[in-house]
Amino acid sequence: MSTKGIVKGIVSNLVTVQADGPVAENEICYILSGGTRLMAEVIKVNGDKASVQVFESTRGLKVGDQVEFEGKMLEISLGPGLLSSVYDGLQNNLATMESVFLKRGEYTDPLDREKLWDFTPLVKPGDKVSAADWLAQVKEGWLPHKIMVPFSFKGIFTVKSIKEAGQYKVDEVIAVLGNDAGEDVPVTMVQKWPVKLAVKAYREKPRPNRIMETGVRVIDSFNPIAEGGTGFIPGPFGCGKTVLQHAIAKQGDADVIVMAACGERANEVVEIFTEFPELIDPHTGRRLMERTTIICNTSNMPVAAREASVYTAMTICEYYRAMGLKCLLLADSTSRWAQALREMSNRMEELPGADAFPVDLSAIISNFYSRAGMVVLNNGQTGAVTFIGTVSPAGGNLKEPVTESTKKAARCFYALEQNRADQKRYPAVGPLESYSKYLDYPEIIEYLDKTVEPGWTGKVHTAKNLVRRGKEASEQINILGDDGVPMSYHINFWKSELIDFVILQQDAFDTIDALCPMERQRYMLDLVLEICKKDFEFEDFEKCREFFKNLINQLRQMNYSAWQSEQFYSYNDSVKKLIA
């Protein structure tokens, strides 16, 4: 008999329920109100009273309304058909909802139950398997989608039977597994997993040892993110957070991209719906939408589901990682998720931490970031989940709880600066404040030595140092005036401007400049550093400015020209002539 309950109190979307049986933390229940079933999650239990957060509007709810507990946590369905889908935070398929408005209590199936999938078995009867082992493969677009032993299965199983190659629907039993107790367990193409728990069905989680290319110079060259790494982008509004994130989503070198729009503008999600089906994935030549899943919980959708949305997105990534794929999760914005936590904590009248956020905010954030990573699967292959979250600091001030907590958890920090945005220096990632801890990893240094060029990391540090020196020079020039400083200050300043304009700045809306492959990044940084190594002499600072402005212009034209095209080399030649 499952537990039942009765509503005892309501404050906004926090409802107190008196339960007549056992209740688990994070258990899902449904509140029956006026003919609809409203989904809710237990967030606190006190005696026989459970506090539940309702994922919908609680308008019209009454004391005395019936509640049914489900006996399980918030789960999502994992199976072929997740890619190209658009879900809300609870994995309802938004595309199959009929009305223009989101109806309360309307839940839609995340997977197409009628579609036939091309199925090929990968095991044979008698094989021994355990959780997350591959049983079969279906074709999901171009991607070989593995049907796995459900993550929740414990112990060793023997394959009793497996379907022959053919076309099947997701709910058909495709294999029967026998366990130690001699029971037969049927397996379909769909498995369920509670989103708040990390999937741990893999052999080990080593340190990341390679770079995930994004085609964005200020990231790949200056502050690279590792495959299976974590990073975050804080910035005030209007600094280009969304543009940068979309650029990473479009160009990131990953097999699967999950974008979680968490409490952000609906029109931004519409932009993805509209553009992604048209855009081409630069790595596979296929439509971007084919490798993308969108989890969309925009700012006007119920607050509690906002929290669920990031977990749903992470679970989908972990599922594809177990197939040996490279996944990239982008969450915009984790601040909205933290605010959802704050709203609930506030309604439960918990003692607040800094800025009224719950005291365990930092722990919740690090726990979430720790679910990313590269893993070695049971069969020795590797898969990765790279996670990049954005943070929207209140008032643009980075000394606030969400930014500070995230800084402890994420390994790459891409600080968007108002100052750079005002000067239209996009992407507005601050070159000195931002960092990538991966540049200190010996495995990554070795990887860059091998794949980019020997001594690459040293060059990156040299370039950063030049920017720092340029900044110091520019401060002196501002205080003392153009005439008040020695020529070397002007030269240092302009060398840093050269790096800024040619390497750091990038036009996300230019068809060529938007995507800069690593080989091209290497060429440009080498060229710029070669220029910076030279000693220059000028009559006066006007001449110095003129010389560098001209040089910058030629180098920027190179950025706008197709890689290794005639045009590219002609600008290259004029640069060489200028510095000869």
Partner: protein, 439 residues
Amino acid sequence: MATKAYQRIYTKLEGITKATVSLRAQGVSNDELAVVDGRLAQVVRIKGDQVTLQIFSGTEGIPTNAEITFLGEPPTLKVSEQLSGRFFDAYGHPIDGGPEIDGEERQIGGPSVNPYKRRQPSQLIPTGIAGIDLNNTLVSGQKIPFFADPDQPYNQVMADVALRADVDKIILGGMGLSNDDYLFFRHSFEAAGALDKIICFINTTENPPVERLLVPDMALTAAEYFAVDKNEKVLVLLTDMTLYADALSIVSNRMDQIPSKDSMPGSLYSDLAKIYEKAVQLPTDGSITIIAVTTLNDGDITHAIPDNTGYITEGQLFLRADSDTGKVIIDPFRSLSRLKQLVQNKKTREDHSQVMNASVRLYADAQNAKTKLENGFDLSDYDHRCLAYAKDYARELLAIDVNISITEMLDTAWKLFAKYFSPAETGIKQALIDKYWKS
């Protein structure tokens, strides 16, 4: 619709604060309305049989033995074509002396549009103001506030924008509007002969502050009726959202909630987003565009209200007094329309985005020259030309009293470029220079 077979009446209040009352009552539903001592109230908290009600018009003079009647439903608005040309209070009752509205009764603050059913905004809304059309082009389905200090003429600019915009309906939600400003809106709409497409929901400073909380939902319920049911282009004006947020903080404070930044409720972001996200471009051509006003305290945009607003809206229009020309201008640096690239060069002339960028860049150079001047450094010839250009640019294009077509704005910009600069100094693409340069 719930029937009103019987109404539950209570006569004992257990607690009274400035904005809320509490009592013991049975069978009460969340968000439902009640009448307390003749004043409208809404259920905000239920704890067993302990019910807390928010009294919209304040609790002054309410006795503990007041009569409390529960109405069984949340606030509603009757919608029909009859709304056009009418003025209402925050509860949706006429204040223009006209008859009550007949129509379908709809709950206000209803569900949001499925994001998947939206369409990408793509229709230009011309306003005649170059600071908007040229630099921060508006698009139907957009939500954008004016950020302005209280002494700036934001309501006048908004009225101008509304009357020039090519829309089917203009819905004004006035929160804490001074009576003078209310009459100003009324007269400008009348004078423009636009009354038949205007609908107003007005809460003035004479009305209690908590009543304001109903105004945006009322205005947007009416907007959704015309946009969704009638496929019309609707423009919603909300002024002043800072006063709306202040009312939110009053209620949350009376309910003993822990305040977050700037003593605003922790849910401020969600509360504001629920309103602004009603802006939508529907696939059927109907649309809701929201232009709001957020007044600032001495230009401080880091305060919780403008800060949260900035993260929600698609840009902001920043009003500033320009000392060079003595006019109020739309600040080209701090203003932004996030949707402008959806219409620029597509619905406007091909040179639009390049002219916009060049003119703002040169204006920025003028600001640098100004700083140099203030710091006592010598100015170059280029600096002098920039300063002269900035004056003309502010007067002829940035000022809010400009009213010309976008083509005229572009031509004006080209004229100024030619007057003060060489083609190379503008940094505009050669092909466009060849075509448009005014020699």
